[in-house]
Symmetry: C2
């Protein structure tokens, strides 16, 4: 063949499945790539504070894993997860009313995989699922390609407005997805009466509840509330697990996200199908990282580390709330979360947080415009602010800059 | 509410998507769960020899990662993978003719995830894909739920019979999936003329080639052959990467499978869609394990460890071939692989390796009946034997037992 001959380029767009057209890069994601630069004050991601990770404890726990388990910790292991880790999770979430066995637990590669696998086993074109509006962005990207229709449900400062979900029942949603504690992006927490109402509503309509609880342990004020998983437990104490709640948990926020270890707690038929989907998806979650998580939790790592996180993140939340009070225009409102890593600002109607972001990036401050988290084009005047990943002084500095932009009329609302 | 009241059980089967019916547990998988018991001589899985893992090197590499990168190695990182690891892979696979940039590389949670994500972006109902028959079992489970139709292609001792694929082109398959080196399950290697023919066939029909190469480095005899990725490189040296080959690689067989670190090399449009699918699937592959793999390869781990694997696995292959010669009936035939971890036995027509397995498990020996790997109910008289996971003496013992069962007429073929 001659060097002059030019091969026709492969036209990949002809080869992609139609669902792949639903996978599109967000312009925002490109815009926010700058946030990885150290000089940027980023309120954008949901990142934990890496400077708080007790690196020497991870190092010694890894050494202990390799000393104790040797090559086994580097070898293939079973799809469902390490039996000892499944047992530990089953025990941690069991209550007198709720008896969880290790067969009710599947280890996943982070909670994101749990959600993605649930989408695969549950949804197809013609199905409907209720989601909080606004909701977790990567949930939408995980489930959209299944063809499921999202039914947005209203939220306020006490979380999902369950009463407003009743009319949606006519269209027979298969499931409702919610983040009851310190919701992403609102920072709102669902009240106990609403949790009970939601459990009853799901029971009355044979609807599954997908409870996503990545932030539950990160509470800085107020009293912990029971999980939906627990509220839906059978009336007879001691009976086997049987629940319409599918619970997604993760070590990402209380241990370290770079390990990618999460879990699902659910009825056996759900776990069985999820395990088949997981085997096809990635065979199993990293053996080494599962042993590492197990070693750390057995050493009492969570009892030591969660209070550290609560103290620091609580201070950061307070620093952000104080700075908002001081620097933001009076016309803006924001949530006062009891925990988690996000709060939510609402600017006056007509303001555009997308414009604000452009100006803010020029001053080295990043956040996520709230419209992104909405299903129906609403929320252009809203914004999500993360407070876990920056120390208090930089939080104040960043909020001051944002407030200055708002007061100088970037959104004509000063 | 009274304790006497029994809640109706949730009927999960009503809630599953129709594709979930295609996810069914294999009876075989249950049967083979016994193989994790230490006393069982297992030729069943595709497991590396964990006793060969240089555990102290992993331990010191992990310590080095944590010393060097601290909390960053435990933090979230970008979906596409660590830039340094993508660069390393790009460089390792680049040749004078084939210039791979890091934008052509995506890090995945093992090669299984690479295959699963490819299924998601490429296939839907109405699409067709050619696969070797027999082929890799977990490929079928990963792609079946997409609705794609599998078109089986004939193989022999020199791999895929490319000539036999020509008539299949009329039905316009989107892609062909193949394992050119030491194929799973046959152990066969595709000859160079066939590789060239396959590249030309794909080019002529605008078909993608999905080249899965987990075992390529594990060669014990014969000369290494160029990858399809390289054979399909543009004619003009130095031009940018543009290929109809999508290459799936993994550290599982040359480093350790428990890390779950693999990769895809492909044209940018494919990598971009795969990255979106990956973000929805699990956000990213473990940061810690990517840093660990990077640290090890930079230390020259592969240059030390691959020769160790070749020596040991080569001895195990030889031990199995010798034992087969000695103990199996003359009517049986088997492949003589130049590498990898499997060989393939064909018993006379009418024999049933499923029956043999039942008898073998009673004697503490496991393998996988070959029918499992076939698309069309063929291969009941075949069996796949793994030789990497048992030392030579146990290989001889196990083959002797299987041979004894065959000679005693378990399959009436003695």
């Amino acid at each position: 063949m001659s060097n002059m001959k030019t091969e026709p380029e492969m036209d990949w767009s002809q080869l992609f499945a139609s669902r792949t057209a639903l996978m599109t890069p967000s312009a925002l994601r490109e815009l926010l790539k700058v946030t990885s630069r150290a000089e940027v004050i980023s309120f954008a991601g949901g990142l934990p504070a890496a400077e708080l990770f007790p690196v020497p404890r991870f190092k010694s726990a890894l050494a202990a894993v390799l000393d104790q388990h040797g090559g086994k910790s580097l070898q293939y292991s079973i799809t469902e997860g390490l039996p000892e880790l499944r047992d530990w999770i089953a025990l941690r979430f069991s209550t007198p009313r709720l008896r969880i066995a290790h067969e009710n637990v599947l280890i996943t590669s982070g909670a994101q995989q749990a959600l993605s696998l649930l989408g695969r086993i549950l949804f197809e074109k013609g199905d409907r699922v209720i989601v909080e509006n606004p909701t977790y962005l990567a949930l939408l990207s995980a489930w959209r390609p299944t063809g499921v229709e999202f039914m947005p449900a209203l939220c306020d400062a006490r979380g999902l407005r369950v009463e407003k979900c009743r009319p949606l029942m006519k269209r027979k949603p298969k499931a409702i997805y919610c983040v009851p504690n310190f919701q992403n992006p609102l920072g709102a927490t669902m009240s106990l009466p609403r949790r009970k109402k939601l459990a009853a509503l799901a029971r009355a309509h044979s609807m599954a509840i997908i409870e996503d609880n990545p932030y539950g342990e990160l509470r800085y004020s107020g009293r912990a509330l029971p999980n939906l998983l627990e509220l839906d437990a059978p009336e007879r104490p001691g009976s086997d697990f049987s629940s319409r709640v599918i619970y997604a948990g993760t070590f990402s926020k209380v241990l370290a996200p770079g390990l990618r270890v999460g879990w699902v707690i659910a009825s056996k038929p759900v776990i069985e199908k999820l395990a088949l989907a997981k085997q096809a998806a990635d065979l199993q979650t990293s053996t080494l990282n599962q042993y590492l998580a197990l070693e750390l939790v057995r050493q009492g790592f969570l009892e030591d580390f969660i209070p550290v996180l609560r103290r620091h993140y609580g201070q950061r939340r307070d620093a952000m709330l104080e700075a908002l009070d001081r620097y933001f225009p009076k016309s803006a409102r924001w949530t006062k979360p009891d925990g988690g890593v996000f709060l939510w600002v609402t600017l006056p109607p007509g303001a555009d947080s997308g414009h604000l972001l452009e100006a803010a990036l020029n001053e080295g401050v990043a956040f996520v415009p709230g419209g992104e988290f909405h299903l129906n084009g609403e929320g252009k005047n809203t914004m999500r602010l993360n407070f876990s990943n920056m120390p208090p002084a930089r939080i104040e500095e960043g909020i001051k800059k944002l407030g200055g932009l708002l007061r100088r009329g970037v959104n004509s609302i000063s």
